[in-house]
């Protein structure tokens, strides 16, 4: 067996079925071996970043480890954004990159880059394999590290000569990583304390994040049993169903008034699988000023106490801990608290201007209604992403795939590919903006190549809308370099050029028909909605602000 064959054998042994990637000189032995292994499906993207985001979405939509291949130098460097993205949003990924032969490493050889050096801070761990006999162990460790603890990307840099070397070693059955032993079971004493604090709380709030996506069942039982008000961060959307009466929406910068007010007034927060990102907390000093007890459940000890001090830290797996909490907790007596929350909800619905103009909010809501909140939603980054988070009623876990931590524009289209590959029978809805979409639009070719029935909903406002919104609010309307409409392509023709049916919607009254047309399309489709350009995402808590600084409605002049 050659190193390349060993790699593929090791992947098969890990249960890998799909690989996203792009070949090149230094990884050709692997691609040659792949030619013979028909049980491994390879999705060829048009750019390595696309392969990385596709693998990320595949992992998050399926709960499995995403696998991505790239060649050395530029190939591997093109992956870095996707690796950093996966690192921030705790996504299990194994990336295999070709490297120049060991004899050439360090000589500035053709297509050489120090990929283990470059990716050190943006991977959970990485390897440079110098001996082919280490390869099965390295692959086994990589998958173990990627999927356990706080999940993350692991990169294996594989020199070309090692891919060709003859293998004489063994495939280990187990891993031995003495420095890596994640804690799964929360400490029983801490769980007892948490339960006691919960039952004593007057104004408790449950906050769930991306680390709770695999724990939706026990968390939903816990919510049902206790009657606790629940909020979900951007990555936690779908952990609690959007139509659950206990659900208050998303907190943070573009969160609902009710979610943010509840956190502001809460005396106890039970945070599961989140890390209190600055888009959630705003000014840390003024975050949740009435908080007496934070119960912080996270599998990564370093994420507990990093931003907000936790009175009851629980290091452990979200599902394991939630299961114990669901078993141990009883109904909470918090009727006065709920009355206050219901009042905030009644007084502050999400601003939904529906004045006959074509707006993103109406488009997203229409798709939400037509799909019953059951689609797998993927987004790019920008205003459309926040509108999707606000207006698409996510019902299921692992069904809202978005770049949260890194905020990677261009995430959407390749991610929709990975999502559709992971969940072939389901409707994958991509909400993207014209700016974000153009960062990775070459992956239309990938959609077309595999006839993936992705529904691309392009919310075209002709601007870098989120930047424009900040310029509106904080830079006295100086719209510096945000105008795209003068040079945007004809997106309908563009999609058609890739063999993807497409059409354009310009009027509000066409939305419902357009939604029906998109969802009725058996294959891929792109619908371009020419949405109102002068639009802001509200409510908004300015960066570094607190709930008290919340702007709930667009300023007067912006509305005209």
């Amino acid at each position: 067996m050659t190193g390349a064959e060993v790699l593929l054998e090791a992947l098969v042994r890990e249960g890998v079925e799909v690989i996203f990637g792009h070949p090149g000189g230094a990884i050709m032995p692997v691609y040659d071996a792949l030619y013979h292994r028909k049980e491994l499906r390879h999705i060829l993207t048009r750019h390595e970043q696309g392969a990385g985001h596709a693998a990320t979405a595949y992992a998050r939509a399926s709960g499995r480890v995403g696998v991505v291949f790239a060649t050395s130098g530029p190939g591997a460097l093109n992956l870095t954004t996707a690796l950093a993205d996966a690192m921030m949003d705790a996504t299990p990924l194994v990336a295999v990159t070709g490297q120049v032969p060991t004899t050439a490493v360090g000589t500035d050889a053709f297509q050489e880059a120090d990929v283990t050096g470059v990716t050190m801070p943006i991977t959970k761990h990485n390897y440079l394999v110098a001996d082919v006999n280490d390869l099965p162990r390295v692959v086994k460790e990589a998958f173990h590290i990627a999927r356990t603890g706080r999940p993350g990307p692991v990169l294996i840099d594989l020199p070309k000569d090692v891919q060709n070397d003859a293998f004489t070693g063994d495939f280990p059955e187990q891993v031995d990583l003495p420095g890596y032993r994640p804690t799964y079971k929360g400490h029983p004493r801490q769980i007892e304390r948490a339960l006691a604090a919960l039952s004593a709380a007057e104004r408790p709030v449950l906050m769930v994040g991306g680390g709770a996506q695999h724990a939706a069942d026990p968390i939903r039982r816990f919510v049902e049993r206790t009657g606790i008000p629940a909020v979900a961060t951007l990555q936690g959307l779908g952990v609690v169903a959007a139509d659950d009466p206990h659900y208050l929406g998303m907190p943070g910068m573009h969160g609902t008034v009710a979610a943010n007010r509840a956190i502001h007034e809460a005396d106890l927060i039970l945070g599961i699988g989140l890390r209190f990102d600055d888009r959630v907390t705003g000014d840390v000093e003024r975050f949740a000023p009435n908080l007496k007890t934070l119960i912080h459940v996270n599998i990564e000890p370093a994420d507990i106490g990093k931003v907000i001090e936790a009175q009851i830290p629980v290091v452990g797996d979200a599902a394991w801990v939630a299961e114990r909490l669901a078993e141990g907790a009883g109904p909470l007596k918090i009727e006065p608290w709920w009355r206050r929350i219901r009042a905030w909800q009644a007084e502050n619905p999400l601003p939904f201007p529906d004045d006959g103009e074509l707006r993103s909010q109406a488009v997203i809501r229409a798709f939400g209604e037509a799909t019953g909140g059951e689609a797998v939603v993927v987004t790019g980054v920008g205003q459309h992403q926040m509108f999707a988070a606000q207006f698409y009623p996510v019902k299921k876990p692992r069904s809202f795939l978005t770049s949260g931590g890194l905020g990677t524009m261009g995430f959407g289209l390749p991610a929709s590919i990975g999502a559709q590959v992971a969940r072939p029978g389901e409707t994958v809805l991509l909400f993207d903006g014209d700016g974000s979409f153009q960062m990775t639009l070459q992956e239309l070719a990938t959609v077309s190549k595999y006839r993936l029935p992705v529904k691309i909903v392009l919310l075209n406002n002709g601007f870098l809308g989120m930047v424009r919104q900040w310029q509106d609010l904080f830079y006295e309307d100086r719209y510096s370099e945000v105008f795209l409409a003068d040079s945007n392509p004809d997106f309908v023709k563009l999609a058609e050029a890739y063999g993807i049916p497409a059409f354009r919607v310009e009027r509000r009254e066409e939305v419902e028909d357009a939604v029906e047309r998109v969802l009725g399309e058996p294959g891929p489709v792109l619908a371009e909605f020419r949405v109102k350009a002068e639009e802001g995402v509200f409510p908004m808590i300015p960066a570094g602000g607190s709930t008290e600084d919340m702007i709930t409605e667009p300023p007067e002049e912006a509305r005209s």
């Binding site: 959970k124 440079l128 003495p178 420095g179 890596y180 000890p301 106490g305």
Partner: protein, 172 residues
């Protein structure tokens, strides 16, 4: 409140493990005052000592972020009674016999050894707590210090306390 801490880290002796640690320190904005590395009696295990300054919260993050690294086996903040030593080599210019005598006296007071003698230069070797080395260098600053090299502090708990590694155990 900021305090000086000496931290010992046992690591797997792999290529780039030191880079992983120092890069993490730099990225997280933790300042390293000194750093020393060496092998241990355990095969494949190296030991790194850091001197860092920070408040409790920063130190908690330093320890947790170190523990996050796969190749880090054990992190210990030496908070109790500890031995702390550093070694320094110092080369000083000497002009004339009087200076030579004065320097020898200073060396004796600090139990520094003269390890190299030349016509116009003396080289001292001194070991001890980093604070002692600071004072020694301060004394010498009245003379012509030509070159200094300090190893960074190494530390160990006093008494019978030892840093134990968990027994190697097979995980899934």
């Amino acid at each position: 409140m900021k305090q000086r801490h000496v931290i010992s880290v046992l690591v797997e002796d792999h290529p780039r493990v030191l880079t992983r640690i120092t890069s993490m320190f730099a990225r997280r904005g933790f300042n390293i005052d000194s750093l020393a590395v060496g092998r241990t009696h355990l095969p494949g295990v190296s030991r790194i000592s850091f001197v860092v300054e920070g408040d409790d919260r920063t130190l908690e993050q330093v320890e947790k972020q170190l523990n996050r690294l796969i190749e880090v086996l054990k992190v210990v903040d030496h908070e109790g009674p500890r031995l702390e030593r550093e070694l320094a080599l110092v080369k000083v210019r000497v002009e004339g016999i009087e200076e030579r005598i004065e320097l020898k006296e200073i060396a004796e007071a600090f139990r520094a050894q003269i390890v190299d003698v030349a016509r116009h230069a003396l080289t001292f070797e001194v070991t001890g707590h980093p604070a002692k080395i600071d004072r020694f260098l301060e004394e010498l600053s009245n003379y012509g210090v030509l070159e200094t090299m300090r190893t960074g502090a190494v530390a160990m708990d006093r008494g019978e306390r030892v840093i134990k590694l968990r027994a190697r155990r097979e995980a899934v």
